[in-house]
């Protein structure tokens, strides 16, 4: 019973990743794509959790946390890039800056 449920959940999550992928490819605007990528990350968290239960292991629990942080960081990086054209801003007072 649980097995069936878990497989069904995994399939639904994979389908959702696939549909997000459609949005990544299709766009139409850049923020659409970035949000879709972020959603893929979140779906991944869920999928990894389901798989953890499915495989009866705790080995992937750190990964869930890491994906949570990194998907966020990636989205921030993209967002900042779209907003300012730069990911890391230069320190204006630095003598090497030109």
């Amino acid at each position: 019973m649980l097995e069936g449920m878990l497989t069904a959940a995994a399939i639904i999550l994979s389908l959702s990743i696939l549909t997000c992928m459609y949005r990544v490819i299709k766009g139409p605007s850049m923020p659409d794509r970035i949000i879709a990528l972020d959603t893929i990350g979140i779906n991944m968290i869920a999928l990894v959790a389901v798989l953890c239960v499915h495989m009866k292991t705790q080995a992937f629990l750190e990964l869930i946390l890491v994906v949570g942080i990194l998907a966020f960081l990636g989205t921030i990086a993209f967002a900042k890039y779209i907003e300012k054209g730069v990911v890391l801003e230069h320190d204006r007072d630095h003598p090497d800056d030109r």
């Binding site: 497989t7 995994a10 399939i11 999550l13 994979s14 389908l15 990743i17 696939l18 997000c20 992928m21 459609y22 990544v24 490819i25 766009g27 850049m30 794509r33 970035i34 990528l37 893929i40 990350g41 991944m44 999928l47 990894v48 798989l51 495989m55 292991t57 080995a59 992937f60 750190e62 990964l63 890491v66 994906v67 990194l70 998907a71 960081l73 990636g74 990086a77 993209f78 890039y81 779209i82 054209g85 730069v86 990911v87 890391l88 090497d96 030109r98």
Partner: protein, 811 residues
């Protein structure tokens, strides 16, 4: 080490010292210090006459590379002795001549004597070495020193051209010869000439026999300026005259003849050898003598005359090799006479040609030109030179009582006998030999007359000359006078040579014809009765005189042959074509475009791997070991494929980065599915970092390239990328399908806790079992970060013009 070894090495030692003499004793011409070397060696070799006469001569071995069967073995037999005497004797005369010819204040004589001694030692090494590899080494050293000597006046374009040409041709031949030597080694298992000769009976019929023969002959023909490799010799005339006299008439160009004579016991008796040597020799004889008349430069005439005379000796060596086929006896003896004539003419040619070059050098030295159109009437001004030129050319033309007459008569005897041979299909072609030889001799007569009479008789034209001509200093005349007196002495008393030199030389060329203790008996006489040879000579005199007198009316025939057809033109345009062709080929594939190089790399990758996969039958797929596939895995894979396939088609860099990020995320998911937590963690982090890095890079892209464009579609790219993908997939499937051994993973599973005290197997492998790899990977990361740091810092130090401007990418 024997005295003979030192005889070869002394010139090298003195060569090293020659510049020192020049530097520290500048008041004395360096040549005086050099002169004792060839003189001493000449006397040394003269003293060996009796030993060579009675026995095997001197032989000694010094091991050099014993593991490769290469030893510095020297042997002095009859043939070597003739060459050694020529090299040292004429070497001494040339050094003496050059002392007066080259001005010690104006010329770089230290280099001259360095090169000359280098050449002398190398040449002695060629003729005295028994080991073929050592012989080859000395052979190339003669090419090299000849190259240096031809370009002695290296500021002249023509000198450099001539040196390059002779280098290319003789080294080409040298390489062919090396290949021939190796083939001989493969057949016989030894590099020693004497041992090869001992095995000569077993050689004919072997597969490598003919290739070895042809390759060695190419070496001999290029060195001895045989047709069609003769073209370097006329251009080598840019060398100082002593060099032309020594290298390009008396010694180096005879190295090929030496090789042919030396290998006659090995290859002689084979029809191919007979035909190749004698036909090429005959063609060279004819071509050289006919071409000589075309030229007006005295040295060019002498160069072609040298070519033609070398062809004559080559022909005789070829004809003489028939004796080995026939064996000794009445019929065989008539071919032996060809060898006698060859050896005799070899000596004769060295004497008169050396003298003639020296005379031409004197004329050049005293008048400032060598062109016969400007010369004339020098007879009364330069009586000694005239006498020497007269004797030299008459000997060359074959006029009695000089030695050329004798060797020419013997040459005719040999070719007349050759026309009566009834083997080697000589019945059909044999008649050509006397006819062509006779025609060539007529031309030889004509150009000999041109040399002496156009230069010394006729009208004196002082206004066309740079200098006021007068007789040369005595020192300059000594050497040619000695050579010319030898011409006369050998002409009148030829038998002083036959007993001492020719018979032992023949014994070493035709060793199998002699029973032990036996020797050839050679008797050369000036008058041998009313033979056909005599009438042929008379015919030459009559026709030659007539043609010489009517020279003006028929010489224009030469103008009819356009320059385009000449072999020089062929060489020049061939060289140009090679250069242009290789440049063109290089340009077609070395385009500088990285895309093209990737096309080559991946194209060859796919083609070679696919070919070997199917050719070797390595392609096999077995589904036994595959795991079950679940539905969500298929869906994830579909998502990944979509993302990956979409990347090449998007038209914005940012979209491509996002897609790449998506692929990375899905990769992480697959690591989870395939139960690799550490990999998944690392992959996730690396993916995010690299995506951020890409974003950082975009900031630095120059403004001009920022326009948004779809990647261009190229059919080659498509084919190659599909090909590579297919190749890798098939390889992976086949590798999985043909697993030959159990993996060693079981060991790690069992032992990771026992041996390393860790439960995380991946980390145990990384840090314990295979720590070295990790260590080096850390190093790679360190190097990469240092590299990035220094790149950025250096960029800061020297700003690029592309930097600055807008910092935004248009979306």
């Amino acid at each position: 080490m024997s005295l003979l070894h030192f005889a070869i090495l002394i010139p090298f030692v003195v060569a090293a010292a020659a510049p020192l003499f020049y530097k520290y004793i500048p008041k004395v011409h360096t040549g005086w210090f050099v002169l004792p070397v060839p003189l001493y060696l000449f006397v040394y070799f003269l003293m060996q006459l009796s030993t060579v006469r009675t026995g095997d001569g001197v032989q000694a071995t010094v091991p050099w590379i014993p593991s490769l069967d290469i030893a510095f073995t020297v042997v002095l037999d009859g043939l070597s002795l003739i060459f050694a005497l020529l090299i040292t004797g004429i070497g001494a005369l040339v050094v003496l001549y050059s002392i007066y010819y080259l001005d010690k204040d104006k010329e770089a004589i230290h280099r001259f004597y360095l090169y000359l001694l280098l050449f002398m030692g190398a040449m002695l090494g060629v003729v005295l070495s028994d080991n073929l590899v050592v012989l080859y080494g000395f052979w190339e050293l003669t090419s090299l020193s000849s190259f240096l000597l031809i370009a002695f006046w290296y500021r002249r374009t023509k000198s450099r051209y001539g040196a390059q040409k002779s280098m290319l041709i003789t080294v080409f031949g040298g390489f062919a010869m090396l290949a021939g030597i190796i083939l001989l080694y493969l057949m016989t298992g030894t590099f020693s000439i004497r041992e090869i000769i001992a095995q000569a009976g077993a050689l004919p019929g072997q597969d490598l026999f003919l290739p070895a023969m042809i390759l060695l002959l190419i070496g001999a023909f290029t060195k001895s300026a045989q047709f069609p490799f003769h073209i370097w010799l006329p251009d080598a005339m840019e060398a100082p005259t002593p060099v032309s006299s020594y290298l390009h008439s008396a010694t180096m160009v005879k190295a090929g003849l030496y090789l042919v004579a030396r290998l006659t016991p090995v290859f002689g008796g084979a029809a191919e050898w007979f035909w190749l040597v004698s036909a090429v020799g005959l063609l060279t004889l004819l071509w050289g003598s006919v071409s000589a008349i075309r030229h007006t430069d005295l040295k060019a005439i002498l160069a072609f005359s040298t070519i033609s005379q070398l062809g004559l000796i080559m022909t005789l060596l070829g004809l003489g090799s028939a004796a080995l086929y026939y064996g000794i006896g009445d019929a065989g003896n008539v071919y032996v006479i060809a060898i006698t004539a060859a050896v005799f003419h070899l000596i004769n040619h060295a004497t008169f040609k050396g003298a003639l070059f020296m005379v031409v050098g004197i004329v050049d030295h005293e008048t400032g030109t060598r062109d016969i159109r400007y010369l004339g009437g020098l007879m009364t001004l330069m009586p000694v030179s005239f006498t020497m030129a007269l004797i030299g050319t008459f000997s060359m033309a074959g006029i009695p009582p000089f030695n050329g007459f004798l060797s020419k008569e013997m040459f005719f005897t040999a070719v007349l006998h050759a026309s009566q041979m009834d083997f080697f299909s000589m019945q059909t072609w044999g008649i050509l030999f006397p006819v062509l030889a006779w025609i060539a001799s007529v031309f030889t007569f004509i150009y000999s007359m041109i040399i002496v009479f156009k230069t010394f008789t006729g009208k004196f034209q002082p206004d066309k000359l740079d200098k006021t001509p007068h007789e040369a200093p005595v020192g300059m005349l000594i050497s040619p006078v000695i050579l010319v007196s030898l011409v006369v002495v050998f002409g009148l008393f030829p038998n002083i040579l036959s007993y001492t030199l020719i018979e032992p030389a023949m014994a070493s060329i035709l060793p199998s014809l002699l029973s032990p203790g036996d020797y050839f008996e050679v008797k050369i006489s000036m008058w041998h009765g009313w033979q056909p040879e005599l009438f042929m000579t008379l015919g030459i005199f009559i026709l030659g005189t007539l043609l010489y007198l009517s020279l003006r009316s028929w010489r224009s025939v030469y103008q009819l042959i356009p320059e385009k057809w000449s072999l020089n033109h062929l060489y020049d345009s061939g060289l140009k074509l090679l250069e242009r062709g290789s440049l063109g080929i290089t340009r077609t594939y070395m385009t500088g475009s990285i895309r093209q190089y990737f096309v080559y790399i991946f194209g060859f990758f796919a083609i070679i791997l696919l070919y070997s996969l199917f050719k070797l039958g390595a392609f096999q797929i077995t589904a036994d070991s595959y795991a079950e596939i679940s539905v969500y895995e298929v869906l994830l894979l579909a998502a990944m494929i979509f993302a990956a396939v979409a990347i090449p088609f998007v038209n914005s860099r940012l979209t491509a980065i996002i897609l790449l990020g998506a692929v990375g995320y899905l990769m992480t998911t697959f690591f989870v599915v395939l139960r690799a937590p550490d990999l998944a963690l690392t992959q996730m982090i690396v993916e995010t970092v690299s995506v951020t890095l890409f974003l950082l890079c975009f900031y630095h892209l120059p403004k001009l390239k920022k326009e948004i464009s779809a990647p261009k579609f190229k059919i080659t790219n498509l084919i190659i990328s599909i090909g590579v993908g297919v190749t890798v997939t098939l390889l992976a499937l086949s590798a999985n399908g043909s697993r030959l051994f159990d993996p060693i993973a079981d060991f790690f599973i069992k032992e990771s806790y026992n041996l390393a005290g860790g439960n995380n197997m991946v980390n145990v492998i990384l840090a314990d079992f295979r720590g070295f790899d990790t260590w080096l990977e850390v190093m790679v990361l360190g190097v990469a970060s240092l590299g990035i740091y220094s790149l950025i810092k250096l960029r800061m130090a020297e700003p690029l013009p592309l930097e600055g401007g807008s910092k935004r990418e248009d979306q």
